[in-house]
């Protein structure tokens, strides 16, 4: 399995997930750095993401939207806090209005990502994500982010079989 450990801390409102990939750290970094790659995994299949601005430089802002089955768009932003290719990334992720401006009423999550080679051509990625409050967590989850999770699992096999390059 790709995911090797999950550590959920109710008290810190933090989730840490460890995954191992058969790829180099540089290649894994590209999943985050290249917007065309990023948009292929960030949104669930039913809500594909489009990144209109994205550059991993501290202080930079990314803009993206996810498009739902009915054409609804959910806008979001990132603010890059740390970017040290290929091993370290930290950013804040929040919701935005339709014009891309951050929506201050909506919560933001803080994510940190560390990427390191573990030999054998493999790379370990540790992603940890923290909510500012329990309400924020509830809100994020209620935003329909889990919609399509079920089908997501099914679609992975589809992607694998298709080789959509």
């Amino acid at each position: 399995m790709t995911v090797t450990a999950v550590d959920k801390d109710i008290d810190q409102l933090t989730m840490r997930m460890t995954a191992e990939f058969a790829a180099t750290p540089e290649r894994v970094w590209r999943l985050w750095a290249d917007p065309r790659q990023l948009e292929r995994w960030w949104g669930p299949p039913a809500w594909p993401a489009t990144f209109t601005e994205h550059e991993l430089t501290p202080g930079a802002h990314s803009a993206y939207h996810m498009t739902g089955p009915n054409g609804d768009e959910a806008h979001g932003w990132w603010e890059i806090v740390v970017a040290e290719p290929p091993q370290s990334l930290a950013f804040r992720d929040g919701f935005a209005n339709a014009d891309g401006t951050p929506d201050p009423k909506m919560p933001t999550t803080e994510a940190t990502v560390t990427i390191e080679a573990i030999g054998d051509g493999k790379t370990r990625m540790v992603m940890s994500s923290r909510f500012p409050s329990r309400e924020a967590m509830q809100q994020v989850l209620d935003m329909g982010m889990e919609e399509g999770l079920r089908e997501a699992i099914g679609q992975i096999d589809g992607i694998l079989a298709q080789d959509p390059v």
């Binding site: 058969a22 894994v28 790659q37 995994w41 989850l141 889990e146 080789d163 390059v165």
Partner: protein, 157 residues
């Protein structure tokens, strides 16, 4: 309606209170012990190096969050955990975990694409690389788009 029959309004879990209540080691321990629901406040307080009053306060916080209830059994009052409220807290994190598990699965799929699409799945290999020798530790022909590539440098600011 359904829940109203199983939970009185006072015990209905409010997410904010639930998490705030659980943000303390002693209180989490109390919730754990109260799963069996056979100890009263006095017995519970014996487990902790703090005053009876302090433990009582912790229990009051848990009660307000709907995480525990006090029930009268004969002449005693026992503290019992509200399993439903605890499940709710857990479910929220579970959903988030699933979100990221799915993302990581999709990442793994992408990682299989450029470098060695061969290996195990392959089968339909129309991949340009041709010969499915794979295995080759010498990353086949110049097809490997690493650093140099840097697609999309939208330096507009």
């Amino acid at each position: 309606m359904l829940t109203a029959t199983t939970l009185s309004p006072g015990t209905w879990p409010d997410p904010d209170r639930v998490f705030a209540a659980l943000a303390d080691t002693t209180r989490r321990d109390i919730v754990w012990r109260a799963m069996t629901g056979d100890e009263g406040v006095v017995e519970l307080s014996a487990h902790y190096p703090m005053s009876f009053a302090a433990v009582q306060k912790h229990i009051a916080v848990l009660e307000r969050a709907g995480l525990v209830t006090k029930e009268r059994i004969g002449r005693r009052k026992v503290v019992r955990s509200n399993v439903e409220a605890i499940r709710m807290a857990q479910r929220m994190l579970d959903r988030y975990e699933q979100l990221w598990r799915d993302r990581i699965d999709r990442m793994a799929v992408l990682l299989e694409e450029p470098i060695d699409a061969g290996s195990q799945t392959a089968a339909g290999s129309q991949t340009a690389a041709g010969s499915q020798t794979a295995a080759g530790s010498q990353t086949a022909a110049g097809s490997q788009p690493t650093g140099v590539d840097q697609p999309h440098k939208e330096t507009d600011r």
